[in-house]
């Protein structure tokens, strides 16, 4: 892995030889130094592959760290705001971590591989922070980013596709569970996780088997209308299901330069990931104070009138600006125009109504729309197949 392509400065993922010919639009993005497709052939059709059949997304650039040693669990428990001991073996947990000021550094998933053996998948490079956190702990931290290739296989026919590829019994894997399979003599680890809010899996393998995995997956998925998807399609899916994204909906407090621009978990609607029953974790003292004194902002999921995505909009209450939009999309399955906003307290309660000030351009002509919007509770797209075990076959 980490081959630098001949004509750019970008790194290529282990799936690149398969992705490049499929990327008809030749629309590439930079994901943490790796060249990855924004779109392959048509963003909307890619999106509908996620929702109607199977979409495959290359998530190899995701930063992966292996954390082992006698103090691994204690170490993660001090670092993360949630109680790590509640993530069972062969289970995956979503987690966030903060600095001492209770400001969000990043979010990610923790794979509990065995006793005191974890893999952390993080959006940002985290080597320095992970090592600072290791002061006082007996742990080993190994960057596995280059050593593991990963594909997200998401959508209603994803389970059928993977079973057709030979992953017998996969239908019985519960959400956030993981299971190992033999794949041509190597271990293929499959977790029932994803960033789409749908039935879906993530498959992890050594880079030398990456191309074979891609080939066999697409061969098996042909009958289930499998399609590769780029980051634009994934973005619509994650907004539709209410998932925030690091670097978009919040800026890591380590990257923030201007005072006050970082956010706490409470300000992002992540209360459920903060466990004050733990006597110590990074940010606990500051978060406890915030919990008692109140936050500066509230995360609001907005249902916006009309079909113009409220990208970067101001949120108004009368003439007063009370917030800004961080993510927005017209969501085809939910048939809703959704937006995530940061609203100044005390505004932003469920049911509150505001105006989204949306600007858009048609043929060099800028237009402003004042679209009424309502704060809604919970994601609009949340199908039961996402949770059903055994997974529903197609």
């Amino acid at each position: 892995m980490s081959d630098v392509s001949s004509d750019t400065m970008m790194l290529e993922t282990p799936f690149h030889s398969r992705i490049e010919p499929l990327c008809g639009l030749n629309d590439w993005g930079n994901w943490m130094g790796y060249t990855t497709p924004n779109a392959y052939f048509d963003v909307e059709l890619e999106y509908f592959a996620i929702r109607s059949t199977t979409g495959v997304f290359d998530l190899s650039p995701m930063n992966k760290y292996r954390i082992t040693g006698p103090d691994a669990e204690a170490y993660l428990n001090r670092m993360m705001t949630r109680d790590i001991s509640r993530i069972g073996t062969n289970r995956v947990g979503y987690a966030i971590w903060c600095d001492d000021a209770g400001q969000l550094l990043d979010d990610g998933t923790i794979f509990h591989l065995g006793k005191n053996d974890y893999r952390l998948c993080a959006y940002r490079r985290a080597t320095d922070w992970l090592h600072w956190c290791a002061l006082g702990f007996d742990v080993s931290i190994v960057d596995e980013t280059d050593a593991i290739a990963g594909l997200a296989v998401q959508g209603p026919t994803s389970c059928s596709t993977l079973i057709a590829m030979g992953l017998t019994g996969l239908e019985n894997l519960k959400p956030f569970g993981m299971q190992n399979y033999d794949f041509e003599g190597e271990t293929l680890m499959v977790s029932r996780t994803g960033f789409t809010g749908d039935l879906g899996y993530e498959a992890w393998i050594t880079p030398s088997k990456a191309e074979h995995l891609w080939d066999r997956l697409f061969e098996a998925g042909k009958q289930f209308l499998i399609k590769p998807i780029g980051s634009y399609a994934l973005d619509i899916a994650r907004i539709e299901t209410g998932f925030i994204q690091a670097g978009v909906d919040f800026v890591s407090s380590e990257e923030v330069i201007r005072h006050g621009r970082s956010r706490s978990p409470f300000e992002l609607g992540l209360h459920w990931l903060v466990d004050f029953k733990k006597p110590l974790f990074n940010g606990r003292k500051a978060l406890l104070a915030e919990h008692q004194q109140g936050s500066r902002y509230r995360f609001a999921l907005l249902d916006v009138d009309g079909n113009k995505p409220a990208d970067h909009s101001f949120i108004l209450k009368g003439d007063k600006q009370v917030g800004t939009v961080t993510s927005a999309a017209w969501c085809p399955t939910a048939k809703s125009n959704l937006a995530f906003a940061q609203i100044e307290m005390p505004h932003g309660a469920v049911g509150d109504q505001y105006i989204a000030e949306i600007y858009y351009q048609r043929e060099l002509h800028w237009t402003r729309v004042l679209a009424p919007c309502t704060v809604i509770d919970g994601p609009i797209f949340n199908p039961s197949r996402r949770r059903k075990t055994p997974a529903v076959a197609f």
Partner: protein, 520 residues
Amino acid sequence: MTDYDALVIGGGHNGLVCATYLAKAGKKVVVLEARDTLGGCASTREFTPGFKVSDCAQWLHQLAPQIIKDLKLEQYGLAYSARNLPTIALGQDGSHLTLAGNVVNGAGISSSDQAAYKTFHHKMLKYANLLRKAYQRRPPKLVDSNWADRLTLVKLGLGMKFMGRDDMSDFMRIILINIYDLMKESFDNPLLQGAVSVDAVLGTAMGPRSPNTVFTYLHRLVGATYGYQGVSQVTGGMGMIGQALAGSAQNEGVDIRATAKVANINLDGSCVEGVTLENGERVNAPLVISNVDPVTTFTSLLGLQNIETGMARRVSQIRNNSGTAKLHLALNDLPQFTGLTDEQLGHRLIIAPDMNYIERAFNPIKYRECCSAPVLDISISSVNDSTLTSPGKHVLSALVQYAPYSPVGGWHQHKQAFTNVVIDLISQYAPGLRTQIVASELCTPADLEQDYGMTGGQWHHGELTMDQVLMMRPFPGCSQYASAVDGLFLCGAGTHPGGNVMGLAGSNAAAEVIKRGNPT
């Protein structure tokens, strides 16, 4: 179960001062000391049969008068065998320079240097006065400051402003620079330049050309603003300060336990609960005040895994290099120093012929090597104090600047040779010294670390540099004696205003503990 209202770890002078002020405020306090004697670095020890010596700090020049008064230390045994002793900078040719207050004489000093020293001394005292005011209260916070903090800052600012425009701008000019440049522009006499530079670098791991050494000079000079004209010698050695403080503490109802080494600070959830001693005994108190250096407190006693990462990171970044060792000699007769009278032998003797000499002594410790000609601050304490040894015999102690903390190959390889280097050096000024030596002892920075529990053997529990003073001492977020751990406070030299036997860290910490009230 709670045994005490407050528990102080470490019976050094700051710990005892803090404990006594807390007891005066009505708290039930215990002091737990690892060693069998009290006072910490204010200590007297019989290092060889029949010879007692102040075995860490050897001069008193900074103990705050308010503390002496409040704690009635003179009533509890604090006495002086000599006060306001001149400093004599020894010349290699037997022609020495004497500094007393603002007067400097001898060694062919020019009248212009004499006048310049008066002016210099006057100005430096003015600047030290600024520090004195800041030292008497907790350092202000810059972020999230309250009115008291802002008032402190305003007072500091006004204090600078009231010095007048010229003095203020000169203060701003020199406060971050090095003593070498300041000496070069102030005086011509190399012995004078050397003697002032020694006061700037003692106890640090900095040379005269190191930035920040004007600040460390002013730090030392704060004692002069209290009225100390030069150094004083405590009867019975510096350990008597420990005893006087302990006496005062006990009179206020403080329980003092020696040979009670704390192994762990215990937590109940996120609050301190007390400590466990090395023998397994638990002592409980809702307030634990550590006089131990911050690195030891957070790393060994509490454990970095028990604090948040940002704080653990700050602790791991505290700079506490030391460059100071201590030599003790037992002598069967009074040594004869070329060009000194018997009375002058009781004064503070400095070996630092010029600033380059000091810088060359400093250079090797950067590479974990021993120098071949160290800087010395010598006290022949038995000249002024007959209680230290039997009549006719004498003890000499010397601060040896510079010695590496951990020389390449280990101290066991270098200790004897370096001891000889120091003795040979003194012999150049005091021929015949070698034949008078009954016993000798070199305490390296590593020994001082071991004996006094100071990380790095650093006197100040953390280098006194601009990144580690005032609101950044010991580190930002922990500068007002309280730590991020509920109920855990610091009161040692690692906190504002820093080291030397001054006592203000202890009294400021007590004021803060009292102000914050009982933990809920």
